[in-house]
Assembly symmetry: C2
Amino acid sequence: MPLGEFELIQRFFASAGACRDDVVLGVGDDAALVVPPPGVEIALAADAIVEGVHFPAGLDAEAIGHRVLAVNLSDLAAMGAEPAWALLSLTLPRSDSAWLEGFTRGLDALARRSGIALVGGDTTSGPLAAVVSVAGLVPRGQALRRSGARPGDWIYVSGAPGEAAAGLAVLQGSLPRPAAAERLVSRFRLPEPRLALGNALRGVASACIDVSDGLAADLGKLCAASGVGARLEVASLPVSAALVEVAGADATRLCLAGGDDYELLFAVPGDRVGDLPELGVTLTRIGRVVAGAGVEIVGEVRGEGPLGGYDHFLKEGRTTTARGLGGPSQ
Amino acid sequence: MPLGEFELIQRFFASAGACRDDVVLGVGDDAALVVPPPGVEIALAADAIVEGVHFPAGLDAEAIGHRVLAVNLSDLAAMGAEPAWALLSLTLPRSDSAWLEGFTRGLDALARRSGIALVGGDTTSGPLAAVVSVAGLVPRGQALRRSGARPGDWIYVSGAPGEAAAGLAVLQGSLPRPAAAERLVSRFRLPEPRLALGNALRGVASACIDVSDGLAADLGKLCAASGVGARLEVASLPVSAALVEVAGADATRLCLAGGDDYELLFAVPGDRVGDLPELGVTLTRIGRVVAGAGVEIVGEVRGEGPLGGYDHFLKEGRTTTARGLGGPSQ
């Protein structure tokens, strides 16, 4: 028996707003009501994920529920903001209890772990897509931005970029699936937003962005926003052993150009490097900020294809060379 | 020449956040930063509109841009909240400058008029859909809710419900298009959120909801949230002359069951009726709150079909009779 929209909302979402005492009114009215604490700025972001664009048809519902929240929490992490409230807009071809249970399990587990309350949203019929918008809290004037990098700052990245893109390729059958591939698939299915790291980088990093479109492309955006350039050392990249085992000669290219990692990429002034937090996530120094513009990639990158990351309306990628990669113009 | 995603964002959305001085950082970073004033609650809502579901394929881009913001502003109006900040998530089959110019013109005009700043969001490729999330401000403890109606309160509605649904039917060719139909089409294309009215109803109305799914259905939701019933007088309904001219015998049914009006439906205690605002929008007393549950429709409603409004996952509508309409269970 199909569930109606009201039962859907009631059954799956109505209890999810109960985890914060600053939520005065949660799901079920025309809007939710929340009370901001004094002395904060509110960080606001929204990201959509669409079947066939951001994830392959047939990806399990739990991964989709996790992902749509994770990509948004990653934006809060990149600002150094603490997650507070979220809205979900879910478009489904049909009402499907089993699918919704999986979706909710994935979303809910990450929401509880991150301390964010789902306070509202809507469900509608249509092609499978989900949009989450998030609000996070950050002490006034302390948010991390893309625009603060200065020549001489060191460039760091967390984790092992490229693993998520390789995991997607494994799921799609274009890379093999030895035992080592499970780690990569998991990195694509359940990316972990770096919230604790982002929080700890306030006052330490001079600029920060999350890696969603690819390391080189996102470094280009950070540089453009800061009015600087960067030299990126291929030999320093944190190309993981699992990535090399599965992707072989393409590992470095995936590390530079693969999207969907949701790691943090940030600049740190030389005198603050000693203050970098130890939180159990690997931080790797991969290059340096320089005067000028664009990202210079120093070293050999094997294989074919652009390094500039993914653009939704220019599918062939941006024109790049291994040396002299132009940063996107945002 | 197709525009890339970054150019799209830059060209169409980057300037739209400039209209409020509480926006510290607008479009272009991982998140926007805004500063809430002291003493407020923040009202948060998100609604999607999907081609073929919420609007017919081929509707002009200006109307789509207006609509996706209007439906969200209407939620703020129903809470008595003042619009502050918005995020847009736009999914487009292809990059199309002319379409985007129209979309932006519609969205931007309403945003400026409403004092809301577009501070961020994303664009992606996929089936045509748009999601806006909005944040509004309301003095602490003063928001209008659905749950405050008490037996004896009078029930009012603004404007002329049913006109938008008739306008859609005109656009789709299932109703004729005499001169009087242009008013109805305009009500569907460019619904006007009742922000000033919602604001003025704080401290006057005991409960409020916006009419998006149909007058009878939304009254059912208000009653369910308040734990009361309602008697609705068919003879009192504000069925407009234009609606009668175009829809004939179906006019009353459209007034009760047609969606997309974005009028406000609210309850007012007898001793506050004298405080109802005069804002140039017609307010009509259509019934009374009673003890019990459900909406009793008193009077004849001609034509066929349910009166309970639209449910995205139960397309045939909810089971209703002209007397004893059950309120949805939300």
